[in-house]
């Protein structure tokens, strides 16, 4: 099952969760903070385990990849709270220490 959850903070900001379950267990996840630029959603920060390791990726305001760091999996609802606090400044925040 693919379970998608989109949390629209404002018309141009959302937090998106995509969780893929196999055999009833969570196999892959992607949690992203996206902003609308023009008519496209641009990812600014993303947490995922697609390569088998929990990590966080940061992108610049044009969606270009900046860096990748190890990051233990956090609950999606916790990430929504963190993002709602920092909003677009999240790209400059040291989220690991929160």
């Amino acid at each position: 099952m693919l379970r998608i959850k989109r949390y629209l903070i404002t018309k141009s900001e959302m937090v998106e969760s995509m969780e893929y379950y196999a055999g009833g267990r969570l196999k892959y996840y992607i949690y992203s903070y996206k902003v609308m630029k023009g008519r496209r959603w641009i990812t600014l920060v993303r947490w995922d385990n697609l390569d088998g390791m929990d990590h966080m990726d940061r992108y610049d305001e044009n969606g270009n990849f900046v860096e990748s760091r190890e990051f233990p999996r956090r609950n999606f609802d916790d990430l929504v709270k963190i993002i709602k606090t920092f909003r677009r400044n999240i790209i400059a925040v040291d989220v690991e220490n929160l």
């Binding site: 998608i4 629209l8 018309k11 379950y21 390569d51 990726d57």
Partner: protein
């Protein structure tokens, strides 16, 4: 105040979604290969990968949308609810087809779909040059 929407994807919706992903990113094998090469530099690839995985397995795709922006209520008009009901009751079709079938002006239907999709009330995909609303809204509720 929150507006919560639950949406499901029928097999016809999944077929349209698959075509849109294939047109944009190529086949499943190509997406897997590109993910290996590009890593996380293209976030859209990872999302396409998860959609493909679910579609390959025939796994259901469920979506929940939570809208915190109160301005969404300005976008919900009686005419747009009628449009939502039409989308729910019919297989996926382009805006042009919807306008023809409902006897409405193309521009009005386009504006309605655009407004609803800006708030994620409707999910759309590009099918060539056409925009196609997909998915069935199963429930919509306001939480105070």
């Amino acid at each position: 105040m929150l507006l919560r929407i639950v949406r499901k994807y029928r097999s016809e919706d999944v077929a349209v979604l698959r075509r849109a992903i294939r047109r944009r990113h190529g086949r499943f094998e190509k997406v897997k290969k590109m993910m290996h090469i590009k890593g996380c530099s293209n976030p859209e690839l990872g999302e396409a990968f998860l959609f493909y995985l679910a579609m390959q397995e025939g796994a259901p795709i469920e979506e929940e949308v939570v809208i915190e922006d109160r301005k969404v209520f300005n976008a919900l008009t009686a005419k747009r609810f009628e449009l939502l009901e039409f989308i729910n009751a019919h297989p996926p079709m382009s805006i042009k087809e919807i306008a023809t079938r409902t006897g409405r002006d193309y521009k009005n239907v386009y504006d309605d779909v655009s407004s609803l999709s800006r708030y994620l009330v409707v999910n759309t995909v590009k099918n060539g040059k056409e925009i196609v609303p997909i998915g069935v809204v199963e429930g919509m509720g306001v939480e105070l």
